[in-house]
């Protein structure tokens, strides 16, 4: 058993209001620079939709992630042979137009325009070329566009649905959407790290954050393609790739990452998961129907004395073990089994888990009449407006049973709380719902509490980086004694 600690995350999609505050917080801190304007380390997508960059989930286009190859996995579009073969031109790499051409407006024109009959306008100018441009698309161009021909209906997750099911999904009366905020998953089996020819990408041992060493990146661009979530971005100005750093300078000083901290809907949870690194290889190569279970098996019980013993032997700090025991992520993912990884079939073992959206409330259409009444207060989860097949394509590699189970658990909590707060439901019905998912009322209350009432400190249980030592996670203090600061010691300007 090789116990390590991983800072991991849960996003509760039922609570996401799609306000993009997280994206803006991230943008203002990290990517408001030349060459990085188009990057959204944190972005919020509408599902069904094509996302950012367009159709990122379609690995027939981008060849991201790993594919099962007997008992092991190999990179789909990169790797030692393919990577070095394609080093002069990477055939599957997304280009600027697959994201969008970033722009600003010539606001000054509003003030300096000569007097005339027309209202002066601020024309958009490209942030790449500086020239006037017609805006074609943006990072959230599919926002709220459920049912749209260009966006929602192009969602690659619809491929598993029959034509009739798709049509039913986009009926005006039952059309729906939910938001999908995405950041780097800081995977246990990161494809970006595996694909980097220079070895610039690495996973930090202490907390599992995946980083790109800017000094070693040589712009071979393989990580951009290999990351199936398209969360490694190429800075066209500096000629270096960049990605979400999970705000590690904030984490090290005990603060939540900016996107977490600023989340208006309080959908985000961050905490430690202890995992067994020896099991990674087998879990990544698990058969499709076992993928989620195999990944869940990697994560260990932080209360198990044997796990604690092995963790200590491995150098995991006691404070980190305590953080793992209080981790909201551990509760959502392992104890309550409410959160699932996004696209486990990419086989990167992502450490960002999603509680799928139970809303909107279900209704049926009969004879063209939208009927929101049902025998009980809510219909069964199977009549969810988003078909289980669709959700399964997102969160469980196509296993509808897994998603249905999660939805039933969420529904049981809802029924239970309705019973507690309003009391208009049949008690037998509630206990039946709880029994079906083997949930105690106490557990349902705890889930409700962490979902709806959790305080800042309950949502973000950040393992102390030991501030006095945190600088040592980056460099040997002895080497730089007498110097001040850390990070870039030269201006990050483009090379010749």
């Amino acid at each position: 058993m090789d116990v390590r600690s991983q800072v991991s995350m849960v996003f509760h999609l039922d609570k996401c209001i799609g306000c993009h505050t997280c994206s803006i917080a991230c943008k203002n801190i990290w990517t408001d620079r030349k060459g990085a304007e188009y990057m959204w380390w944190n972005n919020v997508e509408t599902k069904p939709g094509t996302g950012y960059p367009t159709k990122w989930e379609n690995q027939d286009i981008y060849k991201g992630g790993w594919e099962k190859n007997g008992d092991t996995v190999s990179l789909k579009g990169a790797g030692k042979f393919k990577g070095l073969k394609n080093i002069f031109h990477n055939p599957h790499m997304p280009v600027l137009d697959d994201y969008y051409e970033p722009w600003t407006y010539k606001y000054q024109d509003l003030f300096t325009a000569p007097e005339g009959d027309d209202q002066p306008t601020a024309r958009p100018v490209s942030l790449v070329t500086g020239e006037h441009m017609d805006v074609q698309s943006g990072p959230n161009w599919d926002d709220d566009m459920s049912g749209s021909i260009d966006y929602a209906r192009q969602d690659v997750n619809l491929e598993k649905l029959s034509a009739a099911e798709r049509e039913a999904m986009f009926q005006l009366e039952r059309m729906t959407l939910h938001y999908l905020p995405r950041i780097c998953n800081h995977c246990l089996n990161p494809a970006c790290v595996g694909s980097c020819p220079s070895g610039a990408l690495y996973k930090r041992g202490e907390d599992g954050i995946v980083l790109i060493n800017q000094e070693r990146c040589r712009a071979w661009r393989m990580c951009v393609t290999a990351c199936p979530y398209k969360k490694s971005y190429y800075n066209w100005n500096t000629g270096k790739s960049e990605k979400c750093i999970l705000c590690y300078p904030r984490l090290e000083s005990g603060q939540a990452p900016a996107c977490f901290h600023s989340c208006v809907g309080r959908i985000r949870y961050l905490g430690v998961l202890l995992y067994d690194a020896d099991k990674i290889a087998a879990a990544a190569a698990a058969p499709d129907d076992r993928l989620v279970d195999a990944q869940m098996d990697i994560y260990l019980d932080p209360f198990d004395p044997e796990v604690i013993k092995q963790a200590r032997l491995n150098g995991v700090a006691d404070s980190t073990i305590t953080a793992a025991q209080n981790s909201p992520v551990y509760k959502f993912v392992k104890v309550w089994k409410l959160a699932l990884p996004l696209h486990p079939e990419f086989r990167t073992l992502p450490n960002l888990f999603y509680v799928p959206a139970l809303l909107p409330t279900m209704a049926t259409v009969s004879d063209g009449v939208y009927n929101s009444t049902s025998k009980s207060l809510w219909n069964g989860v199977e009549s969810n407006r988003l078909p289980m097949k669709y959700l399964a394509s997102l969160f469980s590699a196509g296993d509808t049973g897994k998603v249905t189970e999660v939805m039933k658990r969420l529904m049981a909590v809802r029924l239970h709380r309705r019973g507690v707060t309003v009391g208009d439901l049949n008690a037998a019905e509630i206990s039946q719902a709880l029994k079906e998912v083997q949930m105690e009322p106490d557990t349902a209350d705890a889930i409700f509490r962490l979902t709806a009432l959790a305080t800042f400190d309950e949502r973000f249980v950040i393992p102390p980086a030991h501030r006095e030592e945190s600088i040592e996670m980056l460099e040997n203090t002895g080497d730089v004694k007498g110097n001040t600061g850390f990070g870039f010691k030269e201006k990050p300007v483009r090379g010749l």
């Binding site: 790797g79 031109h89 600027l96 070329t129 930090r204 041992g205 000094e215 070693r216």
Partner: protein, 241 residues
Amino acid sequence: MTNILLFAVLPYAALAIFLVGSIYRYKNRGFSVSSISSQFLEGKKLFWGSQPFHWGLFILFFGHLIAFLFPSAVLAWNGQPVRLLILEIAAFAFGLSALLGLVLLILRRLTNRRVQIVTSKMDIVVYAILLTQIVSGLLVAYHSRWGSSWFSAFLTPYLRSVFVFDPQIDAIASVTSLSLKVHVISAFALIGIIPFTRFVHFLVYPVDYLWRSYQQVIWNWSRKHIRTSRSHSEGHKSKNN
């Protein structure tokens, strides 16, 4: 005098600048060492330029290297006319491929607005010198046949004399072929400007990727070592970055 400058001084100046400059840049300006690919801004035309250009140069570079290191082997291979022809035609084809690629790359850079934005002055120098190098090389190959044979007998001794610090420039100075002289001079000039251009990227070609493991975990401070250490000295500080 001019000959001494061009064939005895220039090589040493170029090699010295290359060595000192490259090491300095790698060590002290590591961030600037990059292939600064522009594929992200324009990907389709790049394919038709970059692939033939790089593969052509790649093969020709090793061809020259082999002729320099193992001249007798090349001469032995050329012993039969058929084999000589195969070698010469293949080499010429790769030269043409590099030229075609380079021309397409230049056109792409001149016409694509986005790529223009990331074009530096040194990129123009790079294109000029590469164009000189490839065109002169093709002229030499076409007019002074068969290069693969006389290279070993004629240029290898000169280059070797340079590397043993005893430059023998009589033979090269008496050459009448202008294209050959240009080819040699621009080759040294190319070596000399490596540290000041994007040429540095071929020095960091990631061969080590072949034998490294796919996953990389870096422990910045090995707590495991500290915890399990039996000595009083501090734990092992893992090598970072």
